[in-house]
């Protein structure tokens, strides 16, 4: 067979491209800048839910992160510009998240990435850790996210909110029998485990517990199962849309017992359940107070409202904080004469700084060595109106991240 010279040349070309690609993937080194000189642009990654069932939440997160980056650029603090690169994980697709993270690392060379959802965050971290990219997660709350190098969670974990919620309901209503529904994912099983661990200490019997797949719309049979135990209170360890459907259908089924959830009351729940059904629902989560007198919080609220024509809520606040953490870490690295384009140095900065400005409570949050956060949470109750009209019943200090001895 006659071998054409151009065929050989093409094969050599392919091999060269392949080798270059391999070098890019595996041989990446952080951008090194000569002393005192930095690249003109630092790219920052964000892996968010821009499509799919949770795109409504992704919109708030995206708005906050964009605003944060714009604020960084406007401040002129640093001798380079920031550019935000957002990739879509389509509401929890871990494969898309991994592909997106790959793109952020290989093409955009980001030293810092903001994520959400535990599956997405874990997928991104698998790529982030070996390539020394800091991952900040202001969204996911599953205990499995703890104790992971290069991963920092800026939201209390699910059990840290569920425990105070359950304790509040038990004490207020003198409950002896409790039922729970929970998402059949790491977040939900973590909260379930915490509930079962604490139940004997609380003196309550768990008379019904049922998991559910996320994104279903009919919970009647699940609720029938927990209702069979005739509980005094119901813990809804689910998220967003699911909570709306559960509350609505529970009320339709005559379950007029006190109910509590975690992670916040949001417009989607109100839309799905209707104000009348949702009225009285308790929630324990980060309590973002847009009417806070703290000037730092006021400034954030004013800017966000002016820019997006809506008052920010906790997700927006969380994601803006992720940019604050970046800013403080960069300042720290620069003060030590280091290279903030190196994710490893940003990681060391976070571990050294520990206390960061916050949009919650008294304006500070503490990042713990296990990747958890110390932040205040509040027990609120929805009494009608919009999601921002929830009434704060009680501020609580959440338990430490290890609320029960063993994580799944």
């Amino acid at each position: 067979m006659k071998i054409r010279w151009y065929a050989i040349g093409f094969v050599v070309f392919l091999i060269a491209v392949f080798m270059a690609g391999m070098g890019t993937i595996y041989g990446q080194t952080p951008t090194k800048a000569p002393a005192g000189k930095f690249p003109p642009v630092m790219k920052v990654g964000a892996i968010l839910e821009l499509t799919g069932n949770w795109a409504w939440a992704g919109k708030w997160k995206s708005q906050a992160v964009h605003m944060g980056i714009e604020d960084l650029n406007a401040s002129g603090e640093f001798p380079w510009k920031f550019e935000l690169v957002v990739v879509d994980h389509a509401s929890g697709d871990a494969k898309k998240a991994a592909a997106g993270m790959r793109q952020l690392v290989d093409i955009h060379h980001v030293p810092y990435t903001i994520t959400g959802f535990e599956t997405v965050t874990l997928a991104a971290r698998e790529i982030g850790e070996p390539t020394k990219v800091v991952i900040v997660n202001p969204g996911g709350v599953a205990p499995v996210l703890l104790n992971k190098p290069f991963l920092h969670n800026t939201r209390p974990m699910g059990p840290q909110m569920a425990v105070p919620m359950a304790e509040f309901l038990i004490e207020k209503y003198g409950a002896k029998k409790m039922a729970i529904t929970y998402m059949a994912e790491e977040f939900g099983t973590g909260v379930r485990d915490a509930t079962f661990y604490y139940a004997p200490k609380w003196g309550v019997e768990i008379v019904g517990n049922a998991s559910h797949e996320p994104y279903i719309t009919d919970f009647r049979s699940v609720l029938a199962r927990v209702k069979a135990g005739k509980p005094d209170i119901l813990g809804i360890w689910s998220i967003g849309n699911d909570v709306g459907y559960i509350v609505k259908q529970a009320k339709e089924m005559g379950m007029n017992i006190p109910m509590g959830t975690i992670l916040g009351i949001n417009p989607v729940m109100i839309e799905i359940a209707g104000e009348k059904n949702l009225k009285g629902l308790y929630d324990c989560s980060q309590y973002f107070n847009p009417k806070s007198e703290n000037p730092f919080i006021q400034e954030f609220v004013k800017k966000y409202t002016a820019k997006y024509k809506e008052v920010p809520e906790q997700l927006a606040a969380n994601y803006y904080e992720a940019v604050i953490i970046l800013r403080e870490s960069i300042k720290y690295v620069l003060s030590k004469g280091g290279n903030p384009f190196d994710g490893g140095q940003l990681e060391q900065a976070i571990q050294a700084i520990k206390i960061f400005p916050s949009l919650y409570g008294k304006g500070q949050m503490e990042m713990k060595p296990d990747g958890s956060i110390v932040k205040p949470v509040g027990i609120t109750q929805y009494q009608g109106g919009t999601a921002k009209d929830v009434v704060l019943i009680k501020a609580v200090t959440p338990p430490p991240s290890q609320v029960y001895p063993k994580y799944r």
């Binding site: 795109a55 998991s211 559910h212 009919d218 049979s221 029938a224 069979a228 849309n241 005559g254 839309e271």
Partner: protein, 297 residues
């Protein structure tokens, strides 16, 4: 998994009622798709868009414009019929004329669905939209309860299915539809206009789908991804019951609804999808033509 103690009987009865109601809706969904597939042979995946279009049409008319729910229903059915026509006339017929294979037609259908869902996402945004206007009260019979809406869903679904069944069985046009479904070439030779029949069944199937879509939206909410969770039961019910068999669709819907819901007494909802497809696989293997297979409707 937690085994349930007493009162198990009351729980099972409640789950059975839930299953029967879902069974009725599954049957209506199945019929809406079955009639198109049986007559045209097209695996009309994009039928899922009908549910989305109907849901949002009803929401737009009732919630946005503040008009009565009845107008919402009518608009939804009209919108779905138009969409069904457009898909047949604009996508499937040209492909048939070109001699496209079933695989190509299926790919076109899938592409249409993906395009349509993305468009719905852009136009209507990802936030679910509630549809109200139906008086919802809870009916209690002993330990069992259900809402007036769920009862209406059951009744409407079965009444409509019965009406369509009788239409196909007793009327001239109904028989023409069955003839085209059985043997299109022979039907054409006898003077039946196949293209016109195809258009009509797309309209009929889309209208039925719209009805199911609005009933579903009333119970939950409209959102851009609502089509997919509804189209899969439609497929399963069609193939389990038997292509072209309306009693089969009713029986299969009931079987699916009961199996999914009663299983929750012992299993978590993770297993529901497995159960649905296990039923499908079992029927395909043991009785490939379906439980009530027939040559026509």
């Amino acid at each position: 998994m937690e085994r349930i103690g007493e009162p198990l009987v009351a729980l099972l009865a409640q789950l059975a009622v839930n299953g029967i109601i879902w069974g009725a809706l599954y049957a209506l969904l199945g019929l809406s798709w079955n009639i198109i597939y049986c007559t045209t042979g097209i695996f009309h995946f994009a039928h899922a868009l009908i549910f989305v279009a109907a849901g949002y049409a009803a929401v737009s008319v009732t919630m946005n414009a503040g008009l009565p729910l009845v107008l919402g229903f009518i608009t939804a059915i009209f919108a779905a019929v138009v969409l069904g026509w457009v898909m047949e006339r604009g996508i499937y017929r040209p492909l048939r004329v070109l001699g496209a294979s079933q695989t190509v037609i299926f790919a076109a259908s899938l592409g249409t669905l993906i395009f349509g869902e993305a468009l719905a996402h852009i136009i209507f945004k990802p936030l679910p939209r509630r549809l109200s206007g139906f008086p919802i009260e809870t009916i209690n019979i002993g330990e069992i309860n259900f809402t007036t809406l769920r009862l209406a869903t059951l009744v409407i679904s079965y009444v409509v299915i019965l009406a369509v069944w009788q239409y196909l069985k007793r009327t001239k046009s109904g028989k023409a539809i069955r003839a085209v479904g059985s043997n299109p070439e022979m039907a054409e030779a006898l003077g039946i206009n196949r293209d016109r029949i195809f258009l009509f069944v797309f309209a009929l199937g889309s209208g039925l789908g719209a009805l199911a879509g609005v009933l579903y939206t009333l119970d939950s909410a409209a959102h851009p991804q609502m089509g997919m969770p509804l189209i899969f039961p439609a497929f399963i019910v069609t193939f389990v019951g038997g292509v072209g068999s309306i009693p089969g669709v009713v029986a299969a819907g009931l079987l699916l609804g009961l199996a999914e819901n009663i299983s929750i007494a012992w299993l978590d909802t993770d297993y529901m999808v497995m159960i649905s497809f296990a039923i499908l696989l079992a029927v395909i293997i043991l009785r490939p033509r379906g439980l009530f297979a027939s040559g026509g409707s």
